[in-house]
């Protein structure tokens, strides 16, 4: 039966191809959109898992680079019950690195460079983080210090009190690759990186796995203020480590109550917010894809209706030869199911190829096309095509042997 159904499809190649493409496009859209969505989830998850402490920002500042806090905030924070460490930080977009790129350069590059290169620029906005080294050394859950590569991989060390006031930086391996030496080799520990008009010595290389954190150059807070022409007391944010992580939410609430004009970003809450936003995004994507799938299903139904209308004589001949209505129903349903399977397989293959290709150009972020997503798209295409073929199959099954004779005579 399946072989017969397959033959019925391959002997009408144009119609079959168009019907398959009609459902392949929504399958491709489903896989493409959800691989982006899953990629974002992973990216955010990596970033969140890298930021275990609380971050205190100016109220309404969405990100640290847009935040500034008054100098007395540090002392106020340390008085809040449950706060173990409050480490000051300066966050700003980096000046040009080795004469190119940096923060502003990357943003301009996104608009002015060729499409492919400009797209990469989006992920190349580099931030400078100036840290209060002494206070940061007290953090037990510091993100960057733990992400320094082992010495065997040339990781060097994280900033320590000996780096206070010195133009020393810790950078990510991503930045080391993106801003290589003149001979194209990645920057190494001991080499220099030029930020604006000033040379900095690389003392450590880290790799957090997060696109956001790996786009950061870490240095002493005083040096960063000089580099960025900031007030000597300027602070963008504080990393706050509670005495107990279990009390993180409670400490965050206390900080917001005790100090006006600040926001304590609790990671758990942030995670929930991201999850909620992504959930809504997924729902929206699902609706959009469902609409496209519906169009594809109508295409399959139309194709199968045309196909069955042309084959009334055939169905009648089958009935004359003892085929039951159920047999005819099964044949047409098998044909539409095969169309669905072909669409699912083609859509999956194209999506896998596209994701593989796109991921080669993305840095720090990757589209995530899981086997589960592929299986879901195949199952969806199969189900939709089968359902769409039911009405044409039912119509075909109503044909009687006499219909074959009448159509045969009419034909």
């Amino acid at each position: 039966m399946w072989t017969f159904a397959w033959q019925n499809l391959v002997t009408r190649p144009t119609r079959t191809t168009l019907a398959v493409l009609g459902l392949t496009i929504p399958v491709l859209a489903f896989l493409g959109l959800f691989s982006v969505s899953r990629g974002i989830r992973h990216l955010m998850g990596d970033t969140i898992s890298g930021l275990q402490n609380l971050m205190v920002l100016r109220e309404n500042a969405p990100v640290p680079v847009l935040s500034d806090l008054p100098p007395e905030t540090g002392e106020q924070l340390r008085k809040v019950p449950g706060v173990r460490v409050a480490a000051a930080e300066v966050w700003k977009v980096s000046p040009p690195i080795d004469g190119r790129g940096g923060g502003l350069g990357a943003a301009i590059g996104m608009l002015t460079k060729p499409k492919e290169e400009g797209f990469r620029s989006l992920f190349n906005i580099i931030a400078v983080e100036g840290i209060d080294i002494a206070e940061h050394a007290k953090l037990t859950r510091a993100s960057f210090a733990k992400a320094i590569l082992p010495k065997s991989r040339g990781g060097g060390r994280f900033l320590d009190e000996g780096d206070v006031g010195k133009p020393n930086v810790a950078i990510s391996t991503k930045i080391a690759r993106e801003y290589p030496n003149a001979d194209g080799t990645p920057k190494k520990v001991g080499q220099t990186l030029r930020l604006g008009n000033r040379d900095f010595q690389i003392v450590g290389l880290f790799e957090t796995g997060s696109m956001v954190l790996d786009a950061t150059i870490v240095m002493d807070i005083g040096v960063s203020r000089e580099l960025l022409n900031l007030n000597p007391a300027a602070v963008s944010a504080y990393t706050v480590e509670p005495t107990s992580m279990a009390e993180g939410d409670l400490v965050g609430e206390r900080i917001e109550q005790a100090i006006s004009g600040v926001r304590a970003q609790r990671i758990a809450q942030f995670s929930l917010t991201v999850g909620s936003v992504m959930g809504k995004l997924d729902m929206f994507l699902l609706l959009a894809v469902a609409l496209a799938m519906l169009v594809g299903a109508v295409g399959i139904a139309n194709t199968m209706l045309m196909s069955t209308s042309e084959r009334y004589v055939e169905f009648g001949v089958m009935r004359t030869n003892g085929w039951t209505r159920r047999n005819v129903l099964m044949l047409v349903t098998a044909e539409s199911a095969l169309l669905g399977a072909l669409s699912g397989l083609l859509g999956g293959a194209l999506a896998a190829a596209a994701v593989f290709g796109v991921n080669r150009f993305l840095v720090g972020f990757s589209l995530d096309l899981s086997p589960g997503l592929l299986a879901a798209s195949l199952a969806g295409a199969l189900s939709i095509a089968t359902l769409a073929g039911l009405y044409p199959a039912w119509r075909a099954s109503r044909m009687t042997p006499m219909d074959a004779i009448r159509h045969s005579v009419a034909g």
Partner: protein
Amino acid sequence: MIEAVDVRKSFQSGDETVEALRGVTFRVPKGSCTFIVGPSGSGKSTLLYLLAALDQPSSGTIRVADEDVTSMSEAARDAYRRDRVGFVYQSFNLIGNLSAVNNVLLPYIPTGVTPELRERAVDLLKQVGLGHRTRFRPRQMSGGEQQRVAVARALIKDPLVIYADEPTGNLDRAGGDRIMQLLRDRQRARQSTLVVVTHDRRFITPDDLVLEIEDGRLKEGPTSDFAAAEAWEEV
């Protein structure tokens, strides 16, 4: 073998009721060769469709091998057509997407084609002179060859009765002769019953039964009387 009693069939054509068969009664013995003849529109094809359980009469009964085909359920009629009846159309009606051998195997595709069945289909095609065309599609064959495939399709079930509706109507004289000879040979070899609707009386021999229909009734006359009397006597 085949017994038809007061079989009537009417159709609705617009506001008009057309009586295609107006009470036909006859018997056809097992293993006979019967020709249904008559002018166009006389109801001979309609009668054949009723005998083959392709259609239902408006009234009357038809019994084939002691089974009342007019009161069968749809499932029973499907099984009857699949297992006991071979039907040959005038216009061949092969499935264009299937090879000759798969067209012969059409009745068994839903239930599964065993190697034995496939071997039998190939053997049948050899018997009808198409052993070299088993993988050909209908469009790659002549009309005569297609009709021979259709005959093989009717024979694969080893049917009790072979019904043929103008089987030579779309063929030239030589092709028509070959098909009729084929049907007669198979009928004799298997002792099955052959019922043929035809306009062409040259195929009828004195040993055959003839049911001559005119205006929906069996025609009174020497030929039909002779045939009917023979039929009644043999039964």
